[in-house]
Amino acid sequence: MTEYLRMSGVYWGITAMDLTGSLTRMDRESILEFMRHCQHDCGGIGASQGHDPHLLYTLSAVQILTLFDNLNTIDLEKVVEYIRSLQQKDGSFAGDKWGEVDTRFSFCAVATLALLGRLDAIRMEEAVTFVLSCMNFDGGFGCRPGSESHAGQVYCCVGFLTIVGRLHLVNADLLGWWLCERQLPSGGLNGRPEKLPDVCYSWWVLASLRMLGRLCWIDSKRLRTFILACQDEETGGFADRPGDVVDLFHTLFGLAGLSLLGETQLKPVNPVLCLPEETIQRLGLHLQLLN
């Protein structure tokens, strides 16, 4: 029932495994075999066989193949062509040929191209202009121009600007304040004012603060306690909140959050691409964060 997002599921699972140092326990060959069936003629990659191509799963696929150091499993030139074809006149990106525009897709586009070393393939100035047109009164970012700020979207836009070397265009003090106000008395972080805390936001908010060089603006100890309270004793996975059902998505972002907080049992994670830092270094990718 989850094959409509399986590619991302695989990415969440194997990245979580790699952060805990257990990637070798995954069946690499069968994952690569699965991936060979997901690329379409247009170059885009679907969530699983029989599902339509989309930037979300194209990024997940490239992240997985980067982790496995096996990028040539798919046709990379076609991936680049696919991403290029989805850039709109105003610089934004549609998620697929059906035209839904969202700053999440701007992030997917440049994150994928950065991993492939092909940032030159798109019209960068226009892409930057579009993302900036989604900046709001609180310094945050939304899905489209005029959309309310949301921590997930903030992560995408701050990540986008980091990848393309324009982080100075963010009002870091203002946005940092909005982000650190996401921390609630429980220690957990929410994604917007007046919302409940959620483990996945420990990643979206924390990674954004890290990119802005302002990680110390929240209380790390309290956040760590909250994330650990979301771990299920029976299965070891993480849920959105203490006592809820666990899933792969929150397990990865729980672990990634703990890694950013300096958990020594985990590999250090890269705050921009949510892959182990060692993987990013292997690629020789240099992402300049604020200090």
Binding site: M1, G142, S147, S149, Q183, R192
Partner: protein, 562 residues
């Protein structure tokens, strides 16, 4: 994946549940196999619409099935136009029922927008009412807000109507952050400030202050209005400008600083240097030798260009095709010269205040202080008092501000790091203003509880910087802006990273006593300071390393560290 409580179940219950799930899965698998085979065989028929509808009713997030439905409708468009319009009109109630169960489904909202655009007789007014109904159920649903903006655009609804809508929502519930957000988009469009792009004209701005104040007086612990108020207090975007041109004869360099980071290597942003009216083919470099965008750029001049003790030289920088320029004169006999905009004149740290605005803000300050008497622990009110005092008269309120910060740190410990950094920023601003009033190039920032350094790009002319007795952990990379720095006092901090002293060309004396430097490698940045005369490192762990001073001398062969 969100908000599903894990319940303990007996083995029997678990078994029933498992069976239920299995049954559901079977049905789903059969249906999706049927849909897939129809799609593969090009059977774009009514049955395909029925099958996909049944699945999407259960799970509207399966994007490929929405795609299939659109393919069918586009396929019919050629010769079955009437049927297409009929299906499109039925699509709306179907989507409405999907969204009622799953109001956050990206796929369903996107399909709805697609249907509305493709239907011939879309009733946009009805659609706007639907948005209203959904927002009544969940006033923060950002999918629905985005859909509303899409509808407003297509229906040609005037911004003023939408502003009225936000006023209504805010009057019934002050903590509707989404509505405040929407106001911040609408106001600059309806009442644009003629002089400041993206800001609101003054008379409307004053009304908004009142609205925000009403809100936070009604519920002082609600964050929405406070966030909005901070936006109202904000300033227009900084305009492009050359803020300083500096020339040094002994160093044979020209330095230019800008109001915001720029990339002079970018062709459109090219800056041309004229020496005595002749264009000089300049190769601009960033002081940190790394960044692509920088506030400060430096250019080496060839030896001999500024020769002649009795000659006056004119250095002129032209930017943006000559629209922006600045020049400085190097008089006969002088070693250096500069032309810099003052922070006071530029209103860098305060607001442009008209008489109306300053009287409104003063009144607001009074009411916030009254509120503070009633609610001495209210962090939002404390922070707003600080922000207002910064806008009105930073130096005049300096000591009161520090008291408020102390209180803030006590009542909101989760954000200790933020408040300390903000206090540091204001301390640096005050230090810069004092330096400017004193007309010196000596910046005193010692013992100010600084946790970070701010505004380094405004310190390009500083020759002496004292930041000792603070809580700094790093001398950040951005310190490379301080190209005139000769003496740096940074004793008694918690510094473990001195990357910021790298590439400071005239740095002579560095005091780093009692910090957290523990390894020789941490001192490496000093090796790039070629005029270094003395370095003080007493009270650092690194001093206890065997043969430390021998190693240090090896590291800094050209210096005489004390």
């Amino acid at each position: 994946m969100h908000g599903r409580v894990k319940v303990k179940t007996s083995a029997e219950q678990a078994e029933t549940k498992r069976k239920e799930r299995e049954k559901k899965l079977k049905l789903y698998q059969v249906a999706s196999a049927a849909a897939a085979s129809k799609r593969a065989n090009g059977e774009f028929d009514k049955e395909a619409l029925e099958i996909t509808q049944n699945i999407l009713e259960q799970n509207p997030d399966i994007a490929s099935l929405w795609n299939f439905r659109r393919e069918i409708l586009l396929f019919w468009e050629k010769d079955r136009q009437e049927e297409v319009q009929e299906v499109l009109s039925l699509e709306l109630p179907f989507l409405e029922s999907c969204l009622r169960v799953n109001p956050k489904s990206y796929g369903a909202w996107h399909h709805r927008a697609w249907v509305l655009v493709h239907a011939k007789h879309t009733d946009w007014a009805k659609e706007l009412r639907l948005c209203g109904a959904f927002l009544q159920k969940d006033e923060r649903n950002f999918h629905c807000w985005d859909h509303r903006r899409f509808v407003v655009q297509h229906a040609g609804i005037p911004d003023t109507d939408e502003l009225e809508y936000t006023s209504q929502l805010i009057s019934t519930n002050f903590s509707n952050y989404s509505a405040w957000h929407y106001r911040s988009c609408l106001l600059p469009r309806i009442y644009p400030d003629p002089e400041q792009k993206g800001r609101v004209a003054e008379d409307q701005l004053l009304k908004e202050y009142e609205l925000a104040q009403n809100a936070f007086f009604t519920d002082p612990s609600d964050q929405s209005a406070w966030f909005y108020h901070r936006w109202l207090l904000g300033r227009a975007e900084i305009e492009d400008a050359i803020t300083c041109v500096y020339v040094s004869k002994p160093l044979q360099t020209v330095l230019v600083s800008f109001s915001k980071p720029v990339n002079l290597r970018n062709e459109e942003d090219e800056a041309v240097l004229f020496v005595d009216s002749r264009p000089f083919p300049s190769k601009w470099q960033v002081p940190d030798k790394r960044s692509t965008f920088s506030h400060v750029w430096v250019c080496k001049l060839p030896p001999g260009l500024l020769e002649g003790e009795t000659l006056q030289h004119c250095l002129h920088v032209s930017w943006k095709d000559g629209r922006l320029k600045k020049e400085c004169l190097l008089y006969p006999g002088s070693k250096e010269s500069w032309c810099q905009d003052s922070a006071t004149d530029q209103k860098l740290f305060s607001l442009e205040l008209s008489i109306e605005k300053s009287s409104v803000l003063r009144a607001e300050m009074d009411s916030c202080r009254q509120l503070l008497d009633l609610e001495p622990e209210n962090k939002w009110c404390l922070l707003t008092c600080i922000l207002l005092s910064r806008v009105l008269d930073p130096l005049g309120h300096a000591s009161k501000t520090l008291t408020w910060f102390k209180k803030l740190l006590a009542v909101d410990p989760l954000r200790t790091g933020y408040y300390k950094d903000l206090r540091s920023k204001y301390q640096v601003e005050d230090g810069l203003l004092c330096m400017e009033y004193a007309e010196t190039r000596v910046l005193h920032l010692a013992r100010k509880e600084l946790t970070s350094l701010f505004h380094l790009d405004l310190m390009v002319l500083v020759t002496h910087l004292d930041v000792s007795g603070n809580c700094l952990h790093v001398l950040p990379l951005a310190m490379s802006c301080l190209q005139c720095l000769q003496v740096l006092h940074a004793d008694d901090n918690e510094i473990e990273d001195i990357e910021g002293v790298r590439n400071l060309p005239v740095l002579q004396d560095v005091c780093l006593k009692n910090n957290r430097l523990a390894h020789l490698s941490q001192l490496q940045p000093l090796t790039s300071c070629c005029r270094l005369v003395s370095v003080e490192l007493g009270g650092n762990l690194v001093e206890n390393l065997p043969d430390f001073y021998t190693h240090l001398h090896e590291l800094l062969t050209h210096t005489r560290p004390v």
